[in-house]
């Protein structure tokens, strides 16, 4: 690790935001470099001075009382606040045939509740899986930027990037340079998502980076779906037997433009060869 690399990581290092590998790399560099060590100490001096009690404004003692009164007051002025309805047993009313009908309807209701409950449980389950994957994709994106480990192979030439993946993955990712349409290819990286190694392609657009993850998956093509998480936009789709995730901090509209371009390149170049 050289000085510019170490200095780029100093701030997340003193903030405790680096992963273990980079923490160790920074610490190793700090042991040998006086200049970087002094910068680190300057950062720590500043941090220590700010985070002391002198700059912290504690709430005045009467404020808590004032708030409690205000909340109770607001609560009383809102009598339409939802309350639980009184619970009544619906049996032992009426008699004869009517009572029998009631039991039938209760049983039917129970069956419906069970079916609906099962269905809801099922969709919620898959939604959680998808969310977990989205979080994983987002974490990879953020980590790639934070650790200055954006690319393993840095090149805007797809004839360099594509062969680089040979032997590292059991599939050939679709690699296109989109510089002419405003998204130059920066490079490629191996990543690990959804329990398998995947291809990560990095594109740039102005000051923004885009990570495009792809890996083979079975199933029909799906239209791009936008997720928003922690200020990032994530777009996921499936096309020609591959799952794609594009993630960036640029606007959803711009990212959708990028996805559209990607989709066109996939239809234009079949990726079945290797």
């Amino acid at each position: 690790m050289n000085c510019p690399q170490a200095q780029a990581l100093l701030q997340p290092y003193v903030d405790g935001e680096l992963d273990l590998v980079n923490t160790l790399a920074v610490e190793e560099h700090l042991q040998t470099c006086t200049a970087c060590r002094q910068m680190q100490r300057s950062l720590l001096t500043l941090q220590e001075a700010i985070s002391g009690e002198a700059l912290y404004y504690k709430a005045p003692a009467q404020l808590q009382k004032r708030l409690q009164l205000a909340i109770r007051d607001a609560n009383q002025r809102a009598p339409d606040r939802p309350r639980l309805p009184a619970f009544r047993l619906p049996v032992f009313q009426g008699s004869g045939a009517f009572q029998q009908w009631r039991w039938v309807s209760v049983a039917a209701a129970l069956v419906i509740v069970a079916l609906v409950g099962w269905g809801v449980g099922y969709t919620q389950h898959t939604a959680t899986l998808d969310d977990a994957l989205a979080q994983e994709v987002l974490a990879s994106h953020v980590r790639s930027l934070m650790a200055t480990h954006l690319t393993d192979v840095a090149s805007s030439d797809h004839h360099t990037v594509k062969p680089w993946f040979d032997g590292k993955l059991d599939f050939a990712p679709n690699v296109q340079d989109l510089a002419q349409t405003g998204f130059p290819l920066v490079g490629g990286r191996l990543d690990y998502l959804d329990g398998r190694p995947v291809a990560a392609l990095v594109y740039q657009h102005g000051a923004h980076f885009i990570n495009l993850f792809s890996w083979p998956s079975s199933g029909a093509d799906t239209a791009p779906r936008v997720n928003v998480s922690q200020g990032y936009n994530l777009i996921q789709w499936r096309q020609a037997g591959m799952t794609y995730w594009a993630v960036s901090d640029m606007s959803a509209d711009e990212l959708q433009g990028f996805v559209k371009l990607q989709q066109q390149t996939v239809t234009a170049t079949p990726t079945t060869y290797k």
């Binding site: 500043l46 002198a54 005045p60 109770r72």
Partner: protein, 178 residues
């Protein structure tokens, strides 16, 4: 009965973060009385939306509301303080050239000067520093509260620290004790 219970539950979940709420509001409004008013308004809003709170980190949840209430209040009362910093204009891609070569660590810092320097920072720098250094929050939580990407949290923190250092070192070179 239920309403009273929910009030008690709300107080139990949210009142412990009163110092954090007040500290943030005080740094954003820079005035004791205004901070108290904003915090009260924020707590009333939080109470109203408490049914939307699904557990999890109640401090981040509350601070998001406090921060938004501050911005609404400033927009209504001191609009000139919200001249937004033009992120695009000043943004370089992975902007991490961290520090001035000057050596701040050789000096002991005058806390009053530091307090004044922090209060003078543009609001979007002030808020990330306050959340990071005074509340000890992670980048992820700051990103959620300030509604910005993590990359922006990092670059704002970076610029905020640079500005503070430059300011302090300048004061020193002008002969004031540091």
């Amino acid at each position: 009965m239920q309403a009273r219970n929910s009030t008690a539950y709300f107080e139990q979940v949210v009142l412990p973060h009163l110092d954090a709420a007040y500290n943030l509001a005080r740094w954003l409004t820079r005035n004791d009385q205004d901070a108290e008013d904003v915090v009260q308004e924020a707590y009333l809003r939080a109470f109203k939306f408490f049914t939307n709170f699904r557990g999890g980190d109640s401090r981040t949840w509350l601070l998001t509301i406090v921060r938004n209430t501050c911005y609404t209040w400033l927009r209504q009362n001191r609009r000139d303080e919200l001249t937004m910093f033009d992120e695009e204009l000043h943004n370089s891609p992975v902007d991490c050239a961290v520090l001035n070569p000057e050596l701040l660590f050789e000096h002991s810092i005058d806390l009053q000067l530091l307090k004044d320097a922090l209060a003078e920072l543009p609001i979007e720098f002030r808020e990330v520093l306050v959340l990071r250094e005074l509340e000890g929050l992670a980048y992820k939580e700051i990103a959620r509260i300030a509604d910005i990407p993590i990359g922006t949290v990092m670059s704002r923190l970076n610029r905020a620290r640079q500005a503070l250092q430059t300011d302090l070192l300048q004061q020193m070179s002008e002969g004031k004790p540091l």
